[in-house]
């Protein structure tokens, strides 16, 4: 039996194909095969959430999913949340409301936030913190993140468009 798999995945709206070892994790497929390095590896043990992406709209830790399991699915990474050259209102809120410092956890936090806002458009602080339990931040102490998410929720509910990068 071969220990290789061929996967067909729609990544950020584009069909991508790769043949990799079966043990390849989704995070390594995205970073190494598809050059999408916005998704980060932090703890490699499935606790920090820096590797969070979306599979079929649901936030998942890509270091805890095999590339093979994403075959035939839709994967969204941080690179895909807004058109090139612009920031999604959620991303822009993290800038305006100081929801990041070093930025290493931030792509993962944003991918989880997008999942939260899709199911809970007007979250309370407690709902935000509960949704972000799987994303660990070493820098901010989380208050800036919560403020940014509340801001983001208002902007997404208001239908704000992506912001041009300046």
């Amino acid at each position: 039996m071969s220990d290789q798999v061929t996967v067909n995945i729609e990544v950020n709206g584009t069909n991508r194909v790769a043949t990799v070892e079966a043990r390849t994790l989704l995070v390594h497929l995205l970073r190494n095969e598809f050059d999408l390095t916005g998704t980060h590896t932090g703890c490699e043990t499935g606790q920090c959430g820096a590797c969070t992406v979306q599979v079929n709209g649901e936030a998942v830790k890509s270091c805890m999913v095999l590339a093979a399991q994403a075959d035939g699915q839709e994967v969204t990474t941080i690179e895909g949340v807004a058109p090139a050259g612009s920031l999604h209102p959620v991303q822009d809120s993290f800038w305006t409301d100081h929801g990041l410092q070093c930025g290493y956890c931030t792509p993962g936090v944003i991918m989880t936030t997008l999942n939260l806002l899709a199911t809970t458009p007007d979250p309370t602080d407690e709902e935000i913190r509960h949704a972000l339990e799987g994303n660990i931040c070493r820098c901010t102490g989380y208050q800036g993140i919560v403020t940014a998410v509340k801001s983001a929720a208002r902007r997404v509910a208001a239908g704000d468009p992506p912001v041009s990068l300046r």
């Binding site: 039996m1 071969s2 220990d3 798999v5 070892e21 079966a22 043990r23 994790l25 490699e44 043990t45 499935g46 606790q47 959430g49 969070t52 599979v55 649901e58 936030a59 998942v60 830790k61 270091c63 805890m64 999913v65 095999l66 093979a68 399991q69 989880t112 999942n115 939260l116 199911t119 509960h130 949704a131 972000l132 339990e133 799987g134 994303n135 660990i136």
Partner: protein
Amino acid sequence: MYSYPFSYHRPGSIDEALSLLGDFGDDGKLIAGGQSLLPAMKLRLAAPGHLVDISRIPELSGVRATGGGVEIGALVTHSQIASDPTIAAHAGLLAEIANVVGDLQVRNRGTIGGTLAHSDPAADYPAGVLALDAEIEVRGPNGVRSIPAKDMFVGLFTTALDTNEIVTAIRIAGLSANTGYRYEKLANPASGYALVGVAAVVRLDGSGAIAEARVGITGASDVAYRAEAVESALIGLTPNDASVKAAAASAVDGRDMLTDVHAPAEYRARVTRNLVRRAVLTAVSRARS
């Protein structure tokens, strides 16, 4: 980290999965959500040569109302359980538990079948299925059978499943009138696992005394268990803070508490007694309303 190399298979039916498991023997392992298996493989604590991915087998998914109760397919994820209206109506305790398993990302992938088959001592669901007296339906090379929750969790990471049996569904009977439930948990802040988790289901009689009580405890010992001494002490009790606290005193009797890097045995024992008291009191107040 990288697991050892393996071959990956994705059968389209339970029969095909059973056939593959038969071929691979000890060298084959099922995977669905993978939220426990993949971390173990990445740490090289588990090293199966073949993974059999059952996550897309249609017969294993779905939530069905069943005459007052509910049947939950093994592949239903914790996120789905937390938000499903049929489960909210007939097995709300499971929805309450599902909402606090791990974190959102884990809940989006992890499945109830996988959790029950894995029997992690710190998993949340075992306490809940014990308190709900659930039936766990499994299918193996010798056919279909049903395992009552109280017989399911045998030891550390050990269940009553025979070799190559697959959990297919979990069946829960509806709760009677005047019944309340509650899941209380002390979670590890990083992993989200239960240092101690207590699930209580309590039914009151016409006079407000406790007619029926089931208490499932996880995290405290090396396997989830029913706190039968507590249950006996609760029957016939007029519940209040003092009487329930007295009943909760026997919550860890006859059980070895776990000691690990997160908490010593005596701490777990004290937390267990406290969470039993809280869970029962909340279940009682819900039963009243």
